[in-house]
């Protein structure tokens, strides 16, 4: 009853209204007739600046959309939801600063992020120690499975992606592969998962070439790959650098079949590499049907908010789902102050939950259980590989 009154009062208020006189940080309502509670604040950790700011913009749009929708539908237990965005810079150093601020200063119970694996791996011990739930929409490094009890992701580990793409390569008759990989947690984790599965299936790695993520000149790495005489190349890269690697491979007139990580399923890469250069590249990506009603609705509304198409739509959908999961978790305990533990306990029970990012089940490691599908780029479009 009291709750219903509170909801009614709150709906008449502007979201994120400043604390009225007599309302303490804990939301204890005191003086006068007006009863209101402070908003439930969640942290968001994503690359908002630097080379990878495009993904930060994806996450910002997705989270803002979810927050708006949840607030329009009455918020959480009568309280509005508010997101605080911090820049993780797609690296461990910035992510540590950002996560510390969210945990110690803003005192959020839960953080959506990091986006890049380096961000999540850096923030995980801090979140674990402070009992703050950390939910990554996109980090796929296999090490995150063991990063802590409070550490979750709504995207699957790359261990599965490595198996899928290695199997596909062997199936297509390529037994000698060269690997070109960016020197980051995400890309190395993926490339190692690929290498392990590929060798288990009897394949041979002819050459393993790394580069720093901000490098723009890969010609000598490509020349080394060519000299090692592989019959296919596996690329584990972020979109900006991956597009250039492909471009420089084609400039050196190499016609070897190319295989890659999920980042090649990005319109940005097609634009930056040129669709002729990207023609026929095969990649594995978490299975996602962008045509379900939930997904199309998200892509349409989210695209408006983003002001452009999402760079990597599947992970944007995952970020959107993460906010809804948090809201659902906190709604389970309407009489308690929101904590990371409530969210954590709820997330371990998530089974066959239908979101914009598809059907979601979370396993005992806090990882999403999702299948991978093999895709290929044809004429600048992404389609299921035959």
């Amino acid at each position: 009853m009291i709750l219903a009154v509170l909801v009614l009062i709150l709906m008449g208020c502007a979201p994120a209204a400043p604390l009225a006189e007599g309302v303490t940080e804990e939301g204890v309502v005191t003086k006068g007739e007006v009863k209101e509670l402070p908003p439930v604040r969640i942290g968001v950790l994503a690359p908002l600046a630097g080379d990878d700011a495009a993904y930060g913009q994806d996450v910002t749009a997705a989270v803002s959309l979810a927050v708006e929708q949840i607030n329009a539908a009455g918020g959480i237990n009568g309280r509005t939801l508010e997101a605080i965005f911090e820049n993780g810079g797609c690296n461990g150093k910035d992510a540590t600063t950002a996560a510390t601020k969210l945990i110690d200063v803003d005192k959020v119970p839960v953080i959506v992020g990091g986006y890049c694996s380096s961000e999540t791996l850096a923030a995980a011990p801090l979140a674990e120690a402070a009992q703050v739930a950390l939910i990554s929409p996109a980090s796929s490094n296999p090490a995150i499975s063991q990063a802590g009890d409070y550490v979750f992701r709504v995207t699957p580990s790359d261990a599965g992606q490595g198996v899928a793409i290695a199997g596909e390569m062997i199936k297509r008759g390529h037994h000698k592969a060269a690997v070109i990989v960016a020197n980051t947690d995400y890309t190395l984790g993926l490339a190692k998962a690929f290498k392990e599965s590929f060798e288990k299936l009897g394949g041979v790695i002819t050459s393993w070439e790394t580069y720093e993520k901000d490098a723009r000149d890969f010609r000598t790495q490509v020349a080394k790959v060519r000299a090692s005489k592989p019959d296919a190349i596996y690329l584990s890269a972020y979109p900006t650098d991956g597009a250039l690697v492909v471009k420089q491979i084609k400039q050196l007139k190499m016609t070897l079949p190319l295989f890659g990580g999920e980042t090649f399923g990005s319109k940005d890469v097609v634009e930056a590499a040129g669709k002729d250069n990207l023609e026929g590249i095969v990649y594995a990506t978490p299975k996602w049907d962008g045509t379900t009603p939930k997904a199309t609705d998200f892509l349409q509304r989210g695209g408006v908010k983003r002001g452009a198409e999402f760079s990597l739509p599947v992970f944007a959908a995952d970020a959107y789902d993460a906010v809804y999961l948090i809201a659902e978790a906190l709604k389970q305990k309407p009489d308690q102050e929101p904590t990371g533990t409530i969210v954590k306990d709820y997330l371990y029970t998530v089974k066959e939950w239908q979101g914009a990012g598809g059907m979601l089940t979370i396993d005992q490691n806090g990882d999403a259980v999702k299948e991978f599908q093999i895709m290929l780029v044809h004429n600048g479009e992404f389609q299921k590989a035959p």
Binding site: A49, Y211, T220, K224, A243, K253, E271, A272, S311
Partner: protein
């Protein structure tokens, strides 16, 4: 044989790209004795201008001219709005250095605000053909970059040694007070320097943008390596900076033939370290006199 030649060519391409960056940075340092790190961001800005103008329905050469003009305006604005007020307050070089870093961060953010963080490209009106010669493959854009870098080497040498402006620049660099007594206007000369620097930035931005695509933070990584090239070549010699950048690119690309490719940046900075220890004046620089 062709493989070694290909690696050497790769090195020259990488070096020429750094030379485009190092030349403008070194010119401005020479005349104003100021580390203009925002030069990298001006290059990024030029690339984004080129992206915008070449996407418009206007002739390609005209788009390039517009890019050149806009970059000059931007470069001079930084000089007027950021550096000149500090110079008139007799700010130390440390203050100017910090101001240049601030300007760089500001421009990075401005690029994200106006153009967004997604990858952008500069579309050429013609195909960027790969040319094969004696087993070496190079594209027409890469050939242009190398040619421009070599022309810059000659033109900058000629400008600094043979022209009145160059002599005035060197006089100003040598002793500001004496230069003023012989009728050199430091502010005017600084403006000219920034304009020439901006032209170099525009050329670099267009060529690098075509070759490596655009992203907002591109200026930062360019200036770090361009700066290393300038130090190796000799901070007090503009042609030296071009040469140093070429050497750096060559060393990086030939070096990772034997070393794992992850050591590419390590090679660059090891070379920088060796030069700082054993030849701090750089390849072409003269020893700095004690002040």
């Amino acid at each position: 044989m062709s493989l070694a030649a290909q690696l050497a060519v790769n090195g020259v391409i990488a070096g020429a790209i750094l030379a485009l960056v190092a030349s403008g940075f070194s010119l401005i340092y020479n005349v104003t004795k100021m580390m203009h790190f925002a030069h990298g961001a001006v290059i990024a800005l030029a690339a984004y201008f080129a992206h915008t103008f070449t996407s418009m329905p206007i002739a390609f050469p005209f788009a390039l001219v517009l890019t050149l003009v806009s970059t000059c305006v931007a470069g001079e604005l930084i000089n007027r709005l950021v550096y000149r007020p500090l110079r008139t307050r007799k700010a130390s070089s440390a203050v100017l250095l910090i101001a240049s870093l601030a300007a760089m961060i500001f421009l990075n953010a401005a690029i994200i605000t106006f153009w967004g963080a997604d990858i952008k490209t500069i579309r050429l009106p013609y195909a960027n053909a790969s040319i094969e010669f004696a087993g070496i493959i190079i594209t027409s854009v890469q050939l242009t970059i190398i040619a421009v870098a070599l022309v810059l080497l000659l033109v900058l040498w000629w400008l600094m040694k043979q022209t009145m402006i160059g002599k005035a620049m060197r006089a100003l660099a040598d002793n500001k007070d004496v230069a003023q007594t012989v009728g050199i206007n430091p502010e005017q000369l600084t403006t000219i320097t920034f304009l020439i620097g901006s032209v170099l930035a525009a050329v670099a931005g267009i060529l690098i943008g075509i070759e490596e695509n655009l992203h907002p933070a591109m200026g930062t990584s360019l200036i770090v390596k361009g700066f290393a090239g300038a130090v190796v070549g000799g901070m007090l010699s503009v042609p030296g900076a071009v040469l140093g950048a070429l050497l750096l690119g060559l060393a990086q690309n030939l070096g990772i033939w034997w070393l794992p490719s992850g050591y590419k940046d390590a090679i660059a900075f090891a070379l920088l370290f060796v030069f700082l220890l054993f030849r701090p004046q750089g390849l072409l620089g003269k020893k700095m006199r004690d002040a």
